[in-house]
Symmetry: C2
Subunit: 424 residues, 2 copies
């Protein structure tokens, strides 16, 4: 890791967090003295093959990783809080996570002490696989699931009324152990090793307080959030996210992404709601469809991504334009039609999904699809759109196997921690 | 996809290959005429975020993907030949695969006809998700497993005597459905979407002839094959592959990587043997080891990767140098000591592995480790080294869950196909 320690956070890991790292819970290894050696001094050379030195600040009005230009790689993890974890433990965990995230997003090791070249008598705080790699545009975004607001932590009164598990949709075949979670972390970076390093080290810090319930790697972002990003393609081979909310569209962000002061509860103001859906695609079936049928299903052509009503990729679809025969040029059950804001009273969401390939299944078919992530001001934005997609032609080639929702608090202020508003 | 069609292969997919793509086997869709539209004409713009336009030639003395500078991403697949597949089918498959590979490695769609902007009445030959992406240094490397030489294809007399499933090693807990295979394809690229696209389209072409038995994605190469590549880190956080055979070390390649004319059988001359091992790491246990114990296990320090006998990363280890007390500075059971060529009569292998993370297991532990790939002139080079690693301190933190071996034929000549020497 490289990078100067600008905005270096004060403090460090909690004693509980240190115990997690030091393995005391697992066998009582003795901690030596003087673990505060220089960080990265002998390991600071940049990796020539990973040139992304971009650093996104961890602190700010909103959490990074929402409107941040979508990075190439994702590691997402959902956590359950361990039996016996107290409210104080939860606060301590969020402080530790914030401290570690503020460092890793700068390309630094996970803590300022006990580094890889620290005391030989202690496990290094940092696991080391990102040493020498630049920050790689890493963002770490934290979310709170509905379970956080049950009776365990005295937070029931602070629960957002709209934060509830999603209803069952057509096409849902959910794996419970690939769904839900008390907490989540979305780590995005231009280098997968940097994203994996972040999730691994944050999971390690959580030892004894929270444990991974499920996790997902993704690549080849399926959305664009800045105007200069080219529109990527999903595993159906089509451009995806052409009409996404862009990061510089302040009006759209205000209207449809950020929770406002006037929304309840106040601690979530400046935050958002995150929906995660693991959507398996029946790739082999899709690949056997005629091109015309693929295009009818999507409502756009495959080559350029232009709506079937004509024009180029960024031409607005004309749902009234006649096609051959009596049918409209854009099928009324096409994906672009059913998902279009015109049919959702102008409501939009900010998509931030990734492709995934988990190898193959027992039948030799690719176990692959879309790991859908969207940010919205209210969960009902997603729910309304997803309900409308029940008759989507595309749904024939999709199975939803994972689902989760999280309230994403606003960005932490320098010196504070993520979600602090929930505890004051 | 972009790229001029230099060295454009003649011919195209076999009728059998076309049937696989057209879905005739699955429902008899009618093929329209005139499927030979221009390729990529409207979809040729480069993706700004994927700048690797590097093209490696598919044809040549040796297959690409062995001494080629290691790319950042891997998709590896092993295939079983389908019941009823004949020798002619096998030849036809290898021709189809070679044709498609020669195109995709140039950044072109998988065939010259039936493209994404081809006939609307046929499924596109190309699945489309790599449209607009550059060649991304893609290499596609084919291998033949021992099963190819059984009674099915009349190849028993051509079987290399040394091509046999690997013996059972200490630490093996092999998943049969994550091991072995009649054929394999190693796709490496600097963009994971390009590697995935290659395996997906080659699997599709094989429909009815061969099917995926197992597959694996990898990232963050764990080896270097050129002197200017920095040494990457594995998921133990240590630099890995410091002493690898480099692509420009002609003597070492000749001695330890390429099958020679004087070796039998002749059709494999200029080829190599590929060993694939999926090695799960017990990450959470490793992370709790004291730094000193981690370093003792590896035999190098974690920060710089220098041998514990002193010096820098590229200093030769001194196994005789005394450490503190009576023990040598480099433990006699350290990984670097047991794997060192000095203790294998100078025998080396060319490593080309990747890190993998398959999410997490049922216990919430990272399902992660090393997907080990090595190329060598004779399988006994790997076998000898692996046997010596039985007492490796590191083996306590490793479980080998997948294993396979393949004979990798030499590179195909322009206008021919991979493995052609086996059928003449």
């Amino acid at each position: 890791m490289t990078g100067t320690e600008h905005a270096q956070p004060r403090g460090g890991l909690s004693r509980r967090g240190m115990l997690g790292l030091l393995g005391a819970g697992a066998g009582g290894l003795v901690v030596g003295g003087g673990a505060g050696a220089a960080i990265g001094a002998s390991v600071g050379s940049a990796n020539a093959s990973s040139s992304s030195g971009t650093v996104h600040p961890f602190y700010g009005e909103h959490q990074a990783g929402i409107t941040t230009p979508v990075q190439e790689h994702l590691h997402f993890a959902a956590y359950d809080l361990a039996e016996g974890t107290t409210r104080d433990d939860l606060v301590s965990l969020l402080k530790d996570w914030s401290y570690a995230a503020s460092r890793m997003t700068q390309g630094l090791q996970v803590s300022a002490s006990g580094a890889v070249d620290g005391s030989p008598q202690a496990p290094p705080d940092d696991t080391g696989e990102a040493l020498g790699l630049p920050a790689s545009a890493l963002t770490i975004t934290f979310g709170f699931g509905p379970g956080l607001f049950d009776e365990r932590f005295g937070l029931a009164a602070r629960k957002p009324a709209e934060l509830a598990q999603l209803p069952r949709f057509v096409g849902d075949q959910l794996d419970p152990m690939g769904s839900y979670g008390d907490l989540c972390i979305q780590a995005c970076a231009d280098d997968p090793q940097v994203a994996v390093h972040a999730i691994r080290n944050l999971s390690r810090i959580a030892f004894g307080r929270a444990q991974i319930r499920w996790s997902q790697l993704g690549f080849g972002r399926t959305s664009k959030t800045t105007v200069d990003q080219s529109t990527p393609r999903n595993l159906f081979g089509f451009k995806d996210g052409t009409a996404n909310i862009l990061a510089d569209d302040a009006d759209a962000l205000k209207k449809d992404v950020w929770v406002a002061d006037s929304d309840a509860p106040g601690w979530l103001s400046g935050g958002s709601y995150l929906v995660a859906r693991k959507i398996r695609m029946t790739i082999e079936v899709w690949d056997r469809l005629r091109l015309a049928e693929q295009e009818r299903t999507i409502g756009r052509n495959k080559g350029e991504g232009a709506p079937l009503s004509g024009g180029g990729e960024f031409t607005e679809p004309d749902f009234h334009k006649a096609g051959a025969g009596a049918d409209p040029a854009i099928d009324s059950h096409s994906h672009v039609r059913l998902a279009h804001p015109d049919f959702h009273r102008g409501v939009r969401i900010l998509r931030r999904g990734y492709n995934f390939v988990d190898g193959n299944d027992d039948l030799g078919q690719l176990s692959a699809g879309l790991f859908f992530l969207s940010y919205q001001r209210r969960p009902d934005q997603f729910i309304g759109i997803q309900r409308a997609l029940a008759t989507d032609l595309m749904s024939e080639y999709l199975v939803h196997v994972g689902s989760a929702i999280f309230a994403v608090p606003p960005g932490p202020k320098q010196g504070s921690y993520v979600g602090s508003g929930l505890f004051t």
